[in-house]
């Protein structure tokens, strides 16, 4: 482990790794990542794999449009073609006029940013997923360019390229404290020793607050337990898109590349550090999934897990410079959509660090908006 670096990144999740990659691509040479367990072990390996541009506000739509462009090319770019975004779409099932009105507005906004979403009929929805019970569905919001990617391959591919680019990845190395002197970052203190650094990026997501609080930086990010399940494999292609139903407990589900159905519902606990899976969650998943696609009754759940959503009050992340401390940056609080946002966040963050600004709408995620009482409209959140 080096004892002096230019940029120290705390957290080896998708955000820390992708940002390191964008920085290295811009020619930053001396980058190190500190990860208290192994890369991906935080929320990234526990995520639902979904990538969507169907948000209800311009900033998230712009960011996600850029992310999808990047997700589409990253595998080729890092010479790891196994990693590819599957554009299998997101299908929001709508059950009331009120929901349809809201989604029509979202679709108009999405279209104005060049996202090809549209409102479709229940019958069209059933052509996309034949097992759907559409008896109460009145319409659906569909975007064929949304999709999913494999978080395990994403982490593995990025780690591989980062090592080639000379980025130091320290696993099982916990940052205990960020060192500050005369109002500027001096480095990090880890359980394996001290490291000097000019710039420190806190990408510890659910744990970001712990390090912030030691510095007196108050940004509301809290850990909530959310869960996921996966079933035995079904015939591949039965459920291509991510199917979402707010009517059914906020359920979201899709098929993984090996055929298993992966998904969850919006039953959360917290703030808490406990991520033990709960029986209630499994039962609610079974109930709601089998109402959306009745044949799922006959399918077996083989695995259930818990993980954190690092939630902020408006369900949008806190990204930017920490004004009180020169050289300190934050990208955390992803509230359940950090996997999909990672490529755009990384690009924006790398530009912010190396050039002082980004053309992406990072100001939307201004960490100081909470303090000023300028909360954003709640982002559409799954799970």
């Amino acid at each position: 482990m080096k004892n002096k670096v230019d940029i120290a990144i705390i957290g080896g999740g998708i955000i820390g790794l992708y940002t390191a990659y964008e920085l290295a691509k811009r020619g930053v040479e001396n980058i190190a990542i500190y990860e208290k367990k192994y890369t991906g072990s935080g929320s990234t390996f526990r995520c639902g794999t979904g990538i969507r541009q169907q948000f209800g506000d311009g900033a998230n739509i712009k960011m996600m449009k850029r992310s999808v462009e990047k997700w589409s090319n990253i595998g080729e770019e890092i010479n790891f073609p196994q990693l590819k975004m599957e554009k299998t779409g997101y299908l929001f099932l709508l059950y009331s006029e009120e929901e349809v009105d809201r989604y029509k507005k979202n679709v108009a906004l999405q279209n104005s940013h060049g996202v090809p979403s549209r409102i479709i009929t229940p019958e069209e929805a059933r052509e996309i997923v034949s097992g759907l019970d559409i008896s109460e569905v009145i319409a659906a919001s569909w975007n064929p360019t949304d999709g999913k990617a494999d978080p395990f391959l994403a982490v593995h591919g990025l780690v591989r390229v980062l090592k080639k680019m000379g980025v130091e990845i320290n696993e099982y190395t916990e940052v205990k404290e960020i060192k500050v002197k005369d109002g500027a970052v001096e480095g990090v203190k880890t359980d394996k020793g001290k490291v000097k650094a000019d710039i420190v990026l806190n990408a510890a997501n659910a744990w970001a607050k712990i390090l912030n609080e030691k510095l007196g930086v108050k940004i509301p990010i809290e850990p909530y337990k959310h869960q996921g399940i996966v079933t035995e494999p079904l015939k591949i292609g039965e459920i291509k898109p991510m199917v979402v139903s707010f009517r059914h407990g906020g359920a979201y589900l899709t098929q993984e590349s090996n055929g298993g159905v992966i998904g969850g519902i919006a039953l959360k606990y917290g703030p808490t550090w406990d991520i033990t899976p709960t029986y209630d969650f499994m039962r609610e998943v079974a109930k709601n999934f089998s109402r959306i696609i009745p044949a799922l009754k006959y399918i077996t759940i083989i695995r259930q897990w818990g993980g954190y959503y690092a939630e902020t009050p408006d369900h949008n992340a806190a990204i930017g410079k920490i004004e009180e401390i020169e050289g300190y940056y934050l990208a955390a609080g992803f509230s359940g959509h950090g996997f999909m946002l990672a490529p755009a966040v990384a690009e924006g963050m790398a530009d912010l660090i190396t050039k002082g600004s980004s053309t992406l709408p990072l100001e939307f995620y201004d960490p100081y908006r909470f303090q000023r009482g300028e909360l954003r409209e709640q982002a559409i959140q799954m799970g």
Binding site: T39, R283, T300, I301
Partner: protein, 95 residues
């Protein structure tokens, strides 16, 4: 197809992972069973690793010289036994 015999030895039958795939990862320095699990999906099939995890632990021990007892085995997660959704829904309907 190469004729490396390790490509024909299936370690994880549920997810069709070969001995070669596992040994290649260990050769790349990935010796953490959790990490191998995440990359290859060993231990994530219907048997939940009852068949393959002990075999993988054995390969890691042999290739790294670690003792089997020192290799961290992934925690089993609920459901301990796979369970059909209809069975769970059934107990809801009785309420």
């Amino acid at each position: 197809m190469s004729d490396d015999p390790r490509e024909r030895i299936i370690i994880c039958r549920c997810n069709e992972v070969t001995q070669k795939q596992i040994e290649d990862l260990i050769d790349q320095g990935i010796t953490d069973i959790e990490m191998i699990k995440r990359i290859t999906h060993i231990g994530m099939g219907p048997c939940q690793g009852r068949t393959c995890i002990p075999l993988v632990a054995g390969i890691i021990a042999r290739k790294t010289g670690k003792k089997i007892e020192d290799i961290k085995i992934p925690a089993t997660r609920v459901p301990v036994r796979p369970v059909q959704m209809g069975v769970l829904v059934g107990d809801e309907d009785e309420e």
